[in-house]
Amino acid sequence: MAHLTFTELLENSVAAAADVNSTLTSWNTQSTDIDASNVRDEGLDGRSVASRAITPSDGFAQFSDAGSVTLTNTSPALVAIGATNVICGPFNINESDKEQLVVRCSCKVRINATGSGAANKSVTVYMAYTDDASPTSGSTWNVIARSDRDFLLNNYGAGIDPPKRGVYTVSFLFSGGGSLSTANLHFGLFSSISGSGVNYYIADVHIHGVTYAR
């Protein structure tokens, strides 16, 4: 804390240079040490804080119901709707400065089959990240641990359609190990189905991320 001292000048006394200089020296020395203790409690409000000081980066990507895709891939692949990969970013994070990045994603999942055709077919959806500045399906993607969700249909007998629809929603605190510093984090949505012959559908994808810096 900058604590300013003040040497009073006394009535009927000579105004000594030392007394004046004492005050000026204190103020000069302390002028670079002003901190929170110099500010009164509840003395600051939103006006005082610069834009993006608290949440320096955020972003979202969304694809409406019309922007759906029907897929058949049995190996995990980056979801693309039309010509657009389902990717959200870039996000900046400096974990050494205790910045924290929260990411959320939701989408609809549907398996396009009924009866025995859909028996035991499972759709897996998960999220992955890359620090590629211009990410593509060919970038190095790292799976977000425990972000995967399975949607399994079962066969309940002839004439009985199994449930075909599900909702994928996850939210997580991204961690790069505690010291990651990058300006290029991107998050993508991946999916696959466990067997061939049945297609599935993903729509209404929303990915949102926000960095909490303070």
Binding site: A50, I54, K98, Q100, S122, D150, F151
Partner: protein, 196 residues
């Protein structure tokens, strides 16, 4: 605000009263020694570098991919090894809670045999899902809620419960003799502690 009220004013040709001088300087010093406020700083003066880490927000997170077998012989809420967090709040704040979990049923699934999840803060339920049928053999749950809390230690806990649900009143009424087993697999508990 520093020197908002000038105590004494000097006019030309006045004899300098040293007490007036002292009063003005003393007022200024006292304001600097702990009473500066927003009126002293231009808008947007403080950026990320000037604010201490976690001053406004702290994110807590607990996740697990270990199968948690839910006891399907009881209607009671269970916590087992489901996610939990202990948050020590230094000041009054709001806890924003988000829970995601994956339900994996095995065995003979039943339309009316269901699972539900909830999150509690210090025993107070802040978010609770509806019943999800085991007929959705692999499915996921996501719920969120928020609660203002006072400074101190707080425990956030994920719970799960199963039962055969009476469609008439949406309550779990029984445990059938033939029932599927349930594992809660991948799961995340996210808590955002907002202070201002």
């Amino acid at each position: 605000m520093a020197f908002r009220y000038r105590q004494k004013y000097f006019d030309a040709n006045d004899a300098l009263n040293i007490e007036d001088w002292n009063l003005n300087i003393k007022e200024l010093a006292e304001e600097f020694n702990g009473y500066l406020d927003r009126d002293n700083f231009p808008n947007g003066s403080f950026g990320q570098a000037q604010i201490v880490s976690n001053a406004f927000t702290r994110v807590h997170f607990n996740d697990s991919g270990t199968n948690e077998a839910i006891d399907v012989t009881t209607l009671a809420w269970q916590k087992g090894s489901l996610c939990s967090l202990e948050v020590i709040a230094t000041v009054d704040c709001i806890l924003q809670v988000e829970l995601g979990a994956e339900n994996i049923w095995t065995g003979t699934v039943l339309d009316t045999y269901c699972v539900r999840h909830k999150v509690s803060v210090d025993g107070v339920t802040v978010a609770e899902s509806g019943w999800q049928s085991s007929k959705q053999q692999n499915s996921c749950t996501w719920i969120c809620g928020a609660l203002p809390v006072s400074a101190g230690k707080h425990v956030i806990q994920h719970w799960a419960g199963v039962g055969s649900v009476d469609n008439a009143n949406d309550t779990a009424v029984s445990i059938p003799s033939t029932r599927p087993s349930l594992n809660v697999q991948d799961r995340q508990l996210l808590v955002i502690e907002r202070r201002r």
